[in-house]
């Protein structure tokens, strides 16, 4: 992996490029309180050297919840950008507001057809959310409608 491919800053945190205000660093979240197997989060690993090779996804990316293959290996570019996504498991009613979490590590493709399998939500403002094409769990990422780029959260996929 080339140093220039990733913009990690010392301390394991990621460089913040968005306009978010002092979001907490992606640290370990609390243990699964419900005891369920729901991998709701999404603690981002400190090391990405096991995931990124030559700036691309080293492994195929799959849904965490079902066998669906999202994309083959070596297709997407590693991208660091802090951005909040709605949590995959919302514990409160939506009327109480959407629970989001900041994520910073993504795999980016320039075109949605580069995925093997993906679901694309209806538009929410200037983005659409990405979900598993088979079980529809998500969001696993988002797509920017202005430039069609699609971002998959490293923390929300299973690498094989």
């Amino acid at each position: 992996m080339k140093e220039s491919d990733v913009k990690n800053v010392p301390g394991g945190g990621a460089e913040v490029t968005g306009g978010h205000e002092s979001l907490p660093a992606p640290a370990a979240v609390d243990e699964d309180k419900d005891g369920a197997n729901f991998p709701e989060s999404t603690a981002e690993p400190a090391e990405i050297s096991d995931s990124v090779l030559d700036g691309k996804n080293m492994w195929a990316l799959n849904c965490i919840f079902c066998p669906s293959k999202i994309m083959p290996a070596k297709v997407a570019s590693y991208h660091v950008e802090e951005r909040a996504l709605p949590k995959m498991k919302q514990k409160k009613a939506l009327s109480e507001g959407l629970e989001v979490e900041p994520l910073s590590r993504w795999f980016m493709v320039s075109d949605v057809m580069m995925f093997d399998n993906i679901g694309v939500s209806n538009a929410v403002g200037d983005i659409k959310y990405l979900t598993c094409a088979d079980c529809e769990m998500g969001p696993v990422g988002w797509t920017d409608l202005s430039n069609k780029k699609c971002y998959i959260a490293l923390a929300r996929v299973r690498e094989t």
Partner: protein, 201 residues
């Protein structure tokens, strides 16, 4: 693996509300989505699915009308460039069967590919039927459509439907192109008409 993709096809799913179009949207796994899930609440616009047809990988962009049928007229851009269309009715709903004609007319009006492959799907065969298999078959024959009965609930027939449709498209000369382009546009379904579209046949 992406290099091995034979072609990319645009497939539409059309039909009345409530006939189970969404569940036909290539939903093969158990339903485990979180009802409070934001993306599910927002609704799925389309899906990209890669399927294996006789050893060839074919990438599908499958579009569901996603509730827009309530407004009856889908935008022509929804139909543009589609190589295949799945027209769905509910075998337990006579009304959904009787309203197939206007859907077919709309499809024939807006489809930009004259040899688009059409498939009729009688859905929900796990329920009490009011439309016989023979009636569905007759309608399909009359309109030169493929025909299959399915139950998304039991997954029965759903995979078959897609495989059969894609096989027929592949067998239709001039309907598809070997995959070299990446010009697919997310915007295509919206009002934005300009720019790269599927393919310009």
């Amino acid at each position: 693996m992406s290099d091995d993709i034979l072609t990319t096809l645009k497939i539409l799913i059309i039909g009345q509300s409530g006939v189970g179009k969404s569940s036909l949207l290539l939903r093969f796994t158990d339903d485990i989505f979180d009802p409070d899930n934001q993306a599910a609440t927002i609704g799925v616009d389309f899906k990209v699915k890669t399927i294996d047809i006789d050893g060839n990988l074919v990438k599908l962009a499958v579009w569901d009308t996603a509730g827009q049928e309530r407004f009856r007229t889908l935008t022509p851009s929804y139909y543009r460039g589609a190589q295949g269309a799945i027209l769905v009715y509910d075998v337990s709903s006579r009304a959904s069967f009787e309203r197939l004609d206007p859907w077919l007319q709309e499809l024939n009006t807006y489809a930009t590919k004259s040899n688009i492959v059409k498939m009729l799907v009688g859905n929900k065969i796990d329920k009490d039927r009011t439309v016989t298999r023979e009636e569905g078959l007759q309608f399909a024959r009359r309109h030169s459509m493929l025909f299959i009965e399915a139950s998304a609930k039991s997954k029965e027939g759903v995979m078959c439907a897609f495989e059969e449709l894609v096989q027929k498209i592949i067998q239709t000369p001039g309907l598809w192109e070997s995959d070299h382009r990446t010009g697919f546009s997310l915007q295509e379904h919206s009002e934005t008409e300009a720019g790269a579209s599927w393919c310009n046949c």
